[in-house]
Amino acid sequence: MIGKESAAGRAVKFTFLGGWLLFTVFPLYWIAVTSLKAPGDIFRFPLAYWPEQWSLENYSGLFGKADFGTYLVNSLVVATVAGATATAISMLSAYVLARFEFRSKSALLMAALVTQMIPSFIALGPLYLLMTDLRLVDNRFGLILVYVAVCIPFSTVMLRGFFENIPDALEEAAMIDGLSRFSALFRVLLPVMRPGIIAAFIFNFVNCWNELFLSVTLMNSDSNKTVPTALNGFISSFNIDWGSMSAAAVLTILPTMLLFAFASRHIVQGLTSGAVKG
């Protein structure tokens, strides 16, 4: 098919693949190991690659003094609600962009692309003023509204790729049977679209979960902070407490990593379906 592999070729290939895997996994391993050392052992020579004594002290400290549980709940609520809302709204816009031809269509796609090109910092000041007027500063609902808007352009483009891969004979048959376009979308397309919807939701969720700058700008009080905002607080004071930081990093990474592991196939399909097919 792609030509025979020589023994030497295979050796080079698997050395490279193995090396890259090591390079990819090692930083994650290292932060996890750091977080599981006793706070004093982190700064002890020689550096231990496999600690003799494991400790959960960094984690217990995180929930004791820094109220990390509140931040986790805030992030979970905001990312889940915003991710789901954005996915639902993007379903509708993606459907129209995949199935209809109309004059302003390319302008709409361009408008979606432009949002990805403009650095969000240009909008932060006015957004803060707008949210003040709406009385939504330091308010989780307000942050959710903003995140929904942030997620919509990309998940629309992503879902559009999935819709285009589904033959429209499917919903046309349903519409000939007397269903409206809306109910055809929900009863016939939704089940087929499940991988796409899962991928879009996970992508949105992870984006909201990881978002830093908007959250720093809009959330002031400690009880409303999301995880990235809290992490940012850990480094503002120039002396970083690496024990707490590593534990917090692990707790931040773990949920999104599990989601990606669960859905990496769907996400890959979502990313490539739009760009690669002719």
Binding site: G3, E5, K13, W20, L21, F23, T24, L28, I31, T34, I42, F43, S93, V96, R99, E101, L108, A111, T115, Q116, M117, I118, P119, F121, I122, A123, L124, G125, P126, L127, L129, L130, L145, V146, A149, V150, I152, P153, V206, N210, E211, L212, F213, P228, L231, W242, M245, A249, T252, T256, M257, F260, A261, S264, I267, V268, L271, A275, V276, K277
Partner: protein, 326 residues
Amino acid sequence: MSVASTSKTKTAAQGEGGTSGRRGLPRGGRRREFTTRRGLQIAAFMAPAALFVAVFTYYPMVAGGQMAFRNWKLTDLTDTSWVGLKNFRDVFADPAWGTVLTNSAIWVVGSIVPQLVIGFALALWLRRRFRFRGLYQALIFFPWAISGFLIGILFRWMFNSEFGVVNDLLQKAGLIDEPIAWLADPKTAMVAVLIANIWYGVTFFAIMILAALQSIPDELYEAAALDGAGKARTLFQVTIPYIRTTLALTVLLRVIWIFNFPDLIFGMTGGGPNNETHIVTTWMIKITQQGDYGRASALGLLVVAALLVFAVFFLLATRERKRVTQ
């Protein structure tokens, strides 16, 4: 795209109903009466998305854009008068501007080239099935689940001058005698942030290129083999030409994205030491934090202008791709 758009205008002019024109369903004269209803349907389906993006993205963006031409400082909100191009002049007059621009170029090129090369190699080697390939792909996908800011922090810890694992490993390997203060020297700090970004970005290239590779028909390779083409010739004369447009699109998208990606540097060096690792977008954060929204907006508009140039390339590439496939 050019072919598609001519047929599109024709469809619109005839007022054909929805998808039927494109797919050639025999609905005949009934289409015209549905035009209004069809317009309403499109509007209704688009409305929620348009509303959200208009209010929370476009309005603040436009409002922020006009700040670039005003004296807009948080320190003194009584005077927000128009100042023309003063903010832009301030941007260019800043002594750090040269460093910021150079760093941005290094940041984009130094990230993109290794990401592309390593991503390409990974994709070529992942094309053929082997045991645990699925698991392998899932594992190298992990960096993508992590925020840029947090990646900055992971690598900040690893490049720590005293207790960092990078120095420890290099010393164990005998490559250095003394620990290097990576993040304290602008040159090594830039190398360190680039390594972190390569770690992060290779996966995206690997995924996109692998998908493109899998779309190449086997017959092409068989023909090349019959012609006696070796590995290198097959790569440069069959593989790369076939996926050229995907490559171009992926690179351009990534350039836009990396240019606009302050998070990693923000988390890793905060632009330091001594403002020497700032790129345009981290510089913008710093100026925003100083409260000079006017000048930060001017910087933002410069970024938009630079990236629009890339968008033009992007659209040209798309256009060519459509023409090839039709």
